[in-house]
């Protein structure tokens, strides 16, 4: 029973606390401030916006 109580307590208290902490950290760290910047994160100088990176079928391969 103590193990179950520990797990239930963890689920009910710990997880929401962690979720709230993550949300607060994200807001404080400016993670929601620059959506345009965040949306560009998969890209870089070698694979910038506007460049396809997986075109290998249909006879277009050189």
């Amino acid at each position: 029973m103590p193990v179950i109580a520990f797990i239930l307590l963890g689920s009910v208290v710990l997880l929401p606390v962690v979720a709230l902490w993550a949300l607060r950290w994200a807001a404080a760290a400016g993670q929601f401030r620059c959506p345009d910047k965040a949306a560009l994160l998969p890209f870089d100088e070698s694979e910038p916006v506007g460049v396809e990176t997986d075109c290998i079928l249909g006879g277009n391969r050189r």
Binding site: A39, E52, L57, R61
Partner: protein, 497 residues
């Protein structure tokens, strides 16, 4: 703008300036991931083949019960359970981890720290799955849905999984890029949610079991959340990364993607109990689950809108990109599976579809048409980069796509329809149960045919991956051959008078 042979272009440093430095950095990241990610992919695909064979045997047994009836370890219950566990824990989870490691390193912009440790975790994980599936086939199943592996396999799995989760967090902590992309939110959440789900379910169902119907509640809380809080976040993380990356266009609305993540985190956890409609649970528990299931429309619609508007004007690119083909198929299936799930959660629908093949079709729509297709797409993108080789055969890529796409359509559509009719007949007291079983037989044969198409697709993919690996090891093989040949020549020369 289209860059040709671009799968490898980013890996080949040589240009001066920022672009060259960036290519070098990407090449370093890919090289650091090579061994562990390849281990996860190769072992995952081996389990996929095993799971496919088990699925075919189970499917044939449903309409031809005498098939392999002389082998007691291949009874339907053993084979079906072994199939589920090989594809969930052996295939899907391992491919998920491989894709997650690569994505996390790419988005954190750092090489994988201590890749050897992750490789060791992979070896332990495979040991755990082998022991677990072997135990199931020997009759040691726990008979708890999605947690059938015997208790002696669980600690090995948990240990290796914990190692992987800790290492994902370490990679995240060491990141060079401080701003987070939405895929990282999903990946981090998934690696934290899974041990919580798995640990809680293990304790409450196997180590110190709760009593009565609470077991069913915990069981379905776990089984449903494995889909929604482990596989779904990794699938969505991959979609959010690969669609923009392949077509070269940022996601349509970043705000919408963040809203989708937090609403999934808020609502999905409550969904599991809708599997127990009609069961002996307090009605409010089931009602809350149904409400939360309907609330899932928020993340599903935000994701669907975001993916669709990102793709608008770029659908033609699916002809040239295997990654995009699989990922867009998977993204579309995610919307369909989620809408079907919302409908199935309603009491009026569940009363008909529960205990029918409709549920099986829904599970395959989510786990295969959505998740597995996205993972295939991700592997088509990642493997050439970490092996520094192009895909050897475009024909095999096409065979793979059309085999699995047609196979899963032929599986899901008839089975969903048949399940609905089956449920209507089961609810009619004037129809004999045996007549309902007879009605399902032709549909079940169609399901075996669909399974054969899926198997053909899997075989094509595995052959292509094997071929790719042979090409990767070619430079290592040739010097060995030269050395051996040279030695042979020297020996031959020595023997000459």
């Amino acid at each position: 703008m289209i860059q040709q042979s671009q799968t490898l272009r980013a890996l080949l440093p040589g240009d001066a300036g920022a672009e060259g430095a960036q290519k070098t950095a990407l090449a370093e990241i890919d090289a650091s991931c090579r061994v562990p990610v390849l281990f996860f992919f190769i072992s995952g695909l081996a389990w996929l083949l095993a799971g496919t064979v088990l699925a075919l045997v189970a499917s044939i047994k449903l309409h031809t019960p005498g098939f392999l009836a002389g082998w007691e370890w291949l009874t339907f219950s053993n084979v079906r359970t072994a199939h589920l566990n090989t594809v969930i824990y052996g295939f899907a989870s391992q491919i998920s981890v491989g894709v997650s490691i690569w994505l996390m390193c790419r988005l954190c912009r750092i090489p994988l720290p201590a890749p050897g440790l992750v490789t060791v975790a992979n070896l332990f994980y495979n040991l755990g799955v082998t022991v677990g599936v072997g135990g199931i086939l020997l009759g040691d199943s726990t008979a708890i849905e999605w947690l059938e592996m015997p208790r002696y396999a669980t600690p090995i799995l948990f240990f290796s999984y914990a190692l992987i989760a800790v290492w994902t967090i370490v990679t995240f902590r060491l990141r060079a890029e401080r701003h987070l992309y939405v895929s990282q939110w999903y990946l981090l959440a998934a690696v934290l949610w899974f041990p919580w789900l798995y640990g809680t379910a293990q304790v409450m169902l196997l180590i110190e079991p709760v009593r009565g119907v609470v077991q069913a509640a915990v069981n379905w809380w776990f089984a449903h959340n494995v889909l929604g809080l482990w596989f779904t976040p990794i699938g969505l993380a991959s979609i959010y990364y690969f669609i923009p990356k392949v077509i070269g266009r940022p996601i349509h609305s970043y705000y919408l993607s963040v809203l989708g993540f937090w609403s999934l985190a808020l609502f999905y956890n409550w969904n599991g109990m809708h599997h127990l409609v009609g069961g002996p649970l307090p009605a409010w528990m089931i009602t809350i689950s149904i409400v939360a299931s309907v609330m899932m429309l928020i993340p599903v619609i935000t994701v669907a809108i975001n993916h669709h508007f990102t793709m608008v004007g770029h659908f033609g690119k699916m002809r040239h990109s295997p990654t995009l083909r699989f990922i867009v198929f998977g993204a579309f299936s995610y919307t369909l599976a989620s809408l079907q799930g919302v409908a199935s959660a309603l009491r009026s629908v569940s009363e008909v579809t529960h205990f029918t093949h409709h549920t099986v079709a829904h599970a395959h729509l989510g786990m295969y048409a959505f998740f597995t297709m996205v993972m295939f797409g991700a592997m088509y993108y990642i493997l050439p980069r970490i092996t520094q080789r192009e895909w050897p055969s475009n024909g095999l890529i096409s065979l793979h796509f059309w085999g699995v796409a047609l196979g899963i359509i032929l599986y899901v559509v008839p089975m969903s329809l048949m399940g609905f009719i089956q449920g209507t007949k089961l609810n009619d007291p004037t129809i004999r149960f045996l007549d309902v079983v007879q009605f399902t037989l032709p549909w079940l044969k169609l399901r075996t045919l669909a399974g054969l198409l899926l198997a053909a697709g899997h075989a094509a993919f595995v052959v292509n991956v094997g071929w790719l690996l042979v090409r990767m090891f070619e430079p290592y093989r040739k010097p060995v051959v030269r050395i051996l040949t040279g030695e042979a020549e020297t020996l031959a020369a020595g023997k000459q008078p």
